[in-house]
């Protein structure tokens, strides 16, 4: 093998070593800043309505529902209470209809 050929091979090996070293260095330092594509901004994931506010089981709040006084067990009071419960049941039906309507929507 001629001296020129040996020199050529040495140069090629040197170049390969330099390239390998550069690649290793690039990876360890986070990659080339030139060729990294800018990620397309995506819509921020929307926080869902927090429902950490589970209604309490004990002593439900019945204020403003039309119930008579808790100590009044007269017929009149019971009639009033029945009407109040019926009204709330009616509003629950509305709630259910709204809920069903929202569930039928897909997106």
């Amino acid at each position: 093998m001629s001296k020129a050929a040996k020199t050529g091979i040495a140069i090629v090996i040197l170049i390969v070593i330099i390239i390998v070293a550069w690649v290793i260095y690039s990876k360890s330092s986070g990659g080339s800043p030139v060729s990294t594509p800018t990620p397309t901004p995506v819509a921020t994931e929307t926080p869902q309505a927090s429902a950490s506010s589970a209604p309490a089981a004990q002593a439900p709040n019945t204020a403003g529902t039309g119930l008579s006084a808790a100590t009044d067990s007269s017929n009149t009071a019971l009639d009033q209470d029945s009407t109040a419960v019926t009204n709330q049941m009616s509003q629950l039906s509305t709630d259910s209809a709204d809920l069903d309507a929202s569930l039928t929507a897909t997106q």
Partner: protein, 286 residues
Amino acid sequence: MNTLHSKIIIGASVTAAAALMLAGLVSAQTSATAAASTPAASAITGSSVSAADRAATAAANRQARVAARMTTAEQKGVTAITKRVSDLASLVTRVQAMKNVSDSQKASIAATIQNLSTNLSALQGKIESDTSSSTLRDDLTSITGSYRIYALVMPEVRIIASADRIITIAGMLNTVAAKLNTRLTAAGALSNLSDLTAAMTDLSAKTADAISQAQAAVAEVTPLAPDGGDKTKMAANTAALKDARGKLSAATTDLKAANKDASTVITALKKVKPTATTSMGSTTGQ
């Protein structure tokens, strides 16, 4: 955006028309001049102008079609956002009417909903100013994909609100049950006492189950988060929402049965002469 698109369309149309008119005039003038000299030259010039006209017209038409499509898509997006913002506003109203959550919790939920509404309004502004069809397409997709107003937020909050009312009604029926127990105790031995007692037992069981079902429904939907395009997660969310809905249906059935029990006992007690233990108090307007 509408204005911009209109300008683009009108501008394109005007440009095309002007080009056609100008080309026509030039063509006619050139043809007339050339016809006076050499018929062969006239034919060549006329053919060249005509090809340019067709290219200009085709380009203008393409531009107009793209602009029209963008306008239509943009209008659909604005309509979709407007409807969502409106529905979110009604949702806030419903949240404020909830009775069994604290004011701070209600404020937190309302603020979350309001935040969604604000983000949607910002998205609407972006859509209205989009000039790239690909950007517009991405923005339109994000109306549904990123927010899931109808697929998650609305049903989730509606479930919580319904559960809240169920618990309120159960509380009301429990209050009524306490009064009925007082009346039954005062009434003493009744011929149908066992039936009434059974009704009271059922009433109590049904209200307890209604509360339990409502709480389970809330617990089920609380951890749900937007799927962000993950179909598996979306399917899981949908399944959870439907299951929670089933729990609320069961709770509603419980309440109807409990209310029927209460009505049965009330009807029976009305036939019993009131005793001294029966308070004839006034309404407090609770």
